[in-house]
């Protein structure tokens, strides 16, 4: 393992055995399948994928909460199965979208207690608690019992708990899940700032928000059905799609017009159709810009009225669509989420 690798995953698989309705009836769910991954020291690395893709399973294995079925994983140079104790003093984790914490304790007490478990002195813990609460704008809630906090504030407290121990490697599992837009933005800024402050800090972040991955991460691995489909910087991932042309088009179509016919046109890679009030929004991906003329000809032939047409840059969503063949929300709705 390279000294610069904070996380190294080799041929890692995890299969869950799920009990069926009948006794002795079990089925297998492959959450991770032969995953290879490396996260360099100082990197803010994103795992991007829909619910049920295997992101949380990977985080659980890397934080020593779950044993892999096969393969190897090393964190800070230590094996997750045989050297869990060495790993635990070097990491921390935060799961978004949950309200964990001891409701009878105040925010400060909750945070102080976890700092103690990591062997941090009370003086240092109090300094860090104060600074972190200021950053997330919760100083006025320091002495509030956590049971009396809103869901969003409890989540912020949980995020502070993760950063409080100043870990070498921090695992953030959907850290902004359930937060409002403003709070999510603040948390993202803070995450980026925390990594930038110290080049030895590493974050592995899972998200199913494309913008979050694009905005925050140095590199992103796109994961679906337990497999890593691509891994590179967001810019490089999108660059691969620049050969193709993507247009946002608004049209008014006569009743009964079937937009899926556009997929049959030569050079059209994909059409996403969103009905709006009085018009239809099309997200059209083509092999090259010249294909647009045949699309316009199709509109004219069937009496469609073009309202607007705008070329746009590819996004990580487009990368995902190109890799998986469906939008992330389509994948999430098509399959049951991973437990």
């Amino acid at each position: 393992m390279s000294a610069e690798n904070s996380v190294l995953v080799e041929d890692l698989s995890r299969i869950y055995k799920i009990r069926g309705a009948k006794k002795h009836e079990t089925r297998e769910l492959t959450a991770l399948s032969h995953v290879d991954l490396s996260v360099q020291r100082g990197e803010l690395f994103g795992l991007l994928g829909p619910n049920g893709a295997g992101k949380t399973t990977l985080i659980k294995i890397l934080t020593t909460l779950l044993s892999p079925t096969s393969g190897k994983a090393r964190v800070a140079g230590f094996d997750v199965v045989t050297q869990a104790e060495q790993i635990r003093s070097r990491i921390n984790m935060v799961s978004g979208g949950e309200t964990s914490g001891y409701g009878l304790l105040t925010v400060r007490e909750n945070l102080w207690m976890f700092a103690q478990f990591y062997g941090i002195s009370t003086r240092l813990a109090n300094e860090r608690i104060q600074r972190l609460l200021e950053i997330v704008e919760m100083t006025d809630r320091a002495n509030t019992k956590s049971a009396d906090l809103s869901t969003g504030l409890r989540q912020k407290m949980n995020i502070v708990r993760g950063f409080l121990t100043d870990p070498e490697i921090l695992f953030l599992d959907e850290p902004t899940l359930g937060l409002d837009v403003g709070a999510s933005r603040d948390v993202r800024h803070f995450i980026r700032r925390w990594v930038d402050e110290d080049p030895t800090r590493t974050i592995l972040l899972t998200t199913h928000y494309m913008v979050e991955a694009d905005e925050l991460c140095n590199r992103v691995a796109i994961i679906n059905k337990g497999k890593v489909l691509a891994c590179d910087s967001p810019a490089n991932l999108k660059r691969d799609l620049r050969r193709e042309s993507i247009f946002n088009i608004q049209v008014e179509a006569p009743d009964g017009y079937v937009f899926s016919k556009l997929n049959d046109l030569a050079g059209v890679v994909r059409v996403d159709v969103t009905p709006e009030d009085g018009y239809t929004q099309l997200d059209l991906m083509m092999q090259e810009e010249s294909v647009l003329s045949s699309v316009i000809a199709e509109f004219n032939a069937h009496g469609l009225h073009l309202r607007s047409l705008e070329k746009r840059e590819p996004t990580l969503e487009d990368v995902f669509v190109a890799l998986v063949g469906a939008r992330m929300e389509e994948v999430e709705h098509a399959e049951p989420a991973e437990s």
Partner: protein, 292 residues
């Protein structure tokens, strides 16, 4: 960076795991209501529990409380409260942290010695159990003429037996914690189920000889049985021997058996807990929330 390294060297992680968990356990146990109500609850609960046994005895014995058997029953029932409070005290926080507070995974990720954390979380319940035992015995002595003469108590036997018993109960609690860790479903009832079952088989309120012969071996296999016998003998002396199933055994022999159990559980409880923990990690149960 240097600050981080200094902060993350766990100087005495065992002590911290235990001490902070004890603080947390006490906060949780004592803060669910205001101090006055907590005090009232702490007094009434053990007395109410004892009252059930006393009323049942009264019906059977036509209200005659001045018998050696009543003392046998009363002390057995009083000290049995420790069994429940220690065993479930150590194991309950697995359920509490996993299902209620949803912090178990964060504790597992933290560099703590989890067994000491569990013990620390149980301390508050053990202290509450101690208070309950004292209240129960005081109530019996004051209102029901349960015989207790401090001058006649064999304090050496009592102290040694008491400590060995508490230690073996802690080890049993650790085994139960391991089992609880592996059970995502119905894990909340495991502690109570075990404590209730042992109440029947350990001779807490009647001698083992009252049980059918084929069930008695269960009682003989439980360290709690010998512990209760030793505590009774140290407090009410030889009169208890006429009701026990251990009349042929001396105090030293009983103490040796209890010591043997303590060493046995001491040797194996940690290994059993670690094995259960490993299994829970394999099955993905450590942070599994059932919402039951």
């Amino acid at each position: 960076m240097a600050e981080r390294q200094a902060a993350q060297v766990p100087s005495n992680i065992v002590r911290r795991s235990f001490a902070i968990a004890t603080w947390l356990g006490w906060k949780i146990e004592s803060n669910w209501t205001d101090p006055f109500l907590f005090a009232v609850y702490s007094v009434i609960k053990p007395l109410a529990g004892a009252a059930i046994i006393v009323v049942m005895y009264s019906v059977v014995a036509s209200g005659n409380f001045d018998t050696p058997y009543f003392a046998f029953l009363y002390f057995g029932n009083a000290f049995y409260q420790y069994v429940s409070s220690v065993i479930t005290g150590v194991s309950w926080s697995i359920v509490d942290d996993r299902e209620h507070y949803r912090t178990l995974k964060y504790l597992y990720v933290a560099p703590i010695r989890f067994q000491y954390y569990l013990l620390g979380r149980g301390v508050a319940r053990i202290l509450a159990g101690t208070f309950a035992v004292i209240i129960t015995i005081a109530g019996g002595v004051l209102f029901l003429h349960v015989p207790l003469n401090f001058a006649q108590v064999d304090w050496l036997l009592f102290s040694v037996s008491f400590v060995l018993g508490i230690v073996v109960l802690i080890y049993m609690g650790l085994v139960l914690a391991g089992v609880t860790l592996m059970l995502a479903h119905h894990s909340d009832v495991v502690g109570d189920a075990v404590a209730s079952a042992m109440f029947l088989f350990s001779g807490a309120i009647f001698p083992l000889s009252y049980l059918p012969a084929f069930i008695r071996p269960i009682g003989y296999a439980l360290p709690v049985t010998y512990w209760l016998e030793l505590l009774r003998r140290s407090i009410i002396g030889s009169s208890v021997e006429s009701f026990s199933s251990f009349g042929s055994l001396t105090n030293l022999e009983l103490l040796s058996i209890l010591l043997g159990f303590t060493l046995l559980f001491g040797l194996f409880s940690n290994a059993i807990f670690r094995a259960c923990e490993r299994r829970a990690k394999e099955k993905g149960l450590i942070d599994q929330i059932t919402n039951y």
